[in-house]
Amino acid sequence: MAEDGTERIDLTGWFVGEYPRLVRFAIVVCGDAHLAEDLVQEAYIRARLAGARTEDRIGAYVRRIIVNLSRSRFRRILAERRALDRTDPVTEAAPVGERDEAIWSALLQLAPRQRAAVALRFYEDLSDADIASVLGIGEGSVRQHLFRGMTRLRALLGEGGER
């Protein structure tokens, strides 16, 4: 038992099991597979240093570390990444078969919080309340990030106005 009476979990075991899911979430957040692994490993180190957590909170806690890391320490690397993306913009009319690639490229052009909210909703299938818990913001802000993210995606994909 932890000092506050909550049940301690095997953090290492939990991380080994969740590692693929966390890396995939981090790929959406930062847009780079190698960087995503670094992000998750850094999140693991920080979670270990911060102490034990209960299992129902550890998932949100670690994802929030990943989002925050991508917005702070990895900001410079991400800026370089976005600069590279701008040199190869998404074409207005995506050819058949390449639709997924176009959507993915558009996704990577969203603001970090919008991208994180979209990933948590459509890849992790979380509710507004759960997304708010991960991002440390209110549910209203979550809905706003999702709305603006989808609007921007539609604009990038040439589907303006619809929702």
Partner: protein
Amino acid sequence: MKLEEELRAAMHARLDAARVRALDARALDARVDHRRRRRTRARTIALVAATGSLALGIGFVANEFADAPAGPVAPAPSSPVDGTPIHEPGQPIPLDAIPEGVSAHRLGDLRVFIVRDGNDVTVFDTDIQHQPGEGHLWWCPNERVFAAPAHGELFDARGRYLAGPAARGLTTLPATVRDNVVRIDLEGTPGASRGPESAELPAGYADGDRAWNTGPGSFCDAPLTSRPMTFAIPGPDDFTIPFDAIPEGTSLHHVPALVEGADARAERTPGEPIFIVRDGRHITVFAAVVPDHPNRGSLFWCPAEGVFGSPPDGELYDTTGRVIGDTANRGLLRINSYLGDEQLIIDPLTRQPGLAVRRHPSAEPMPVGYTGAWNPAQETTFCLSPLIGGYLGASPEPLHAPLWPAALAIGVGIAAFAIGMIWLRRRRLMVR
């Protein structure tokens, strides 16, 4: 297909196909341990630095407030007082500042005796070269010898070995006199090696272990001591009193002082009475206690008779602190003092025991009416208007230390703590 569904499908298609290597938890655990050690070390350093600085600052402030009213910072003493002029090393000394005969001086942290005969000046180091730092040399004017009381070393007026365990004669510091200015070379010349003991030693000089200052009957009747002169500049526990506030003659003052307790630890007393005897610029400070009964207190000053006395057993002392009664075994306890810039600096921690000599047979007769034990409340007592217990004259004030070191120390402490905590929080990523 709606964009939401397309988005969900695109993300799964992309991410589910992504190859993710297994997590190497052992390698990451090593990094966790490394960071944990580094964080602990940084936290320890920050806390030690912050705590130390805070304690330093608080100590400054506490000391300042405990010592109560702040006075001016005392300059380094420069004027002669009580036969112990103080000089900086290398500083030319006016010949007029050195009295004829033998006088005790301080050259920086060096204690010396200067023997002046007109324009001839001889300077002796007080190191007796028996035990380093013992430096406890007395000049016995009646017997005309230098003597170290602890082990009985004796030297004649020219510093030559006479008796005792000293290895050689006194070290001489070369001195030149030109235009009434004395310049002293601090590189001394060691005295000649000891020869045979002198056949004619002073009468009363004890044989055996040669220690002779521990009881009545010492041969050295009126010594001039090289002690106590242990401060080149005022110490932090010193007190000052404006020179003009000290009346001529004998006056009673109170000094809140740190005194050595029974268990040899310094302790603060609420207010210790002291007697200051002033004769022009010649000042002597006595603790107002009876040396034979230090816990009994109540030393009186009898102004009409010009003596110090204690009623219960009738101890009497003259204004130099020497025993003149029949019942005292040791002279009054002196408190070291010296003159600063128009102020007397009192060092309450450095005290000089009175000479362990009883009344000399040829001393002045006892005051009229003296009957041994005496009660000052009786009309027949010899001490008609004793001075004791009340406050007279200015109270010495503690030396004032500036507050800015305390403020600086506290500021550094808080800054170190804050920087340390901010740094630590940044290192471990506080979730926002």
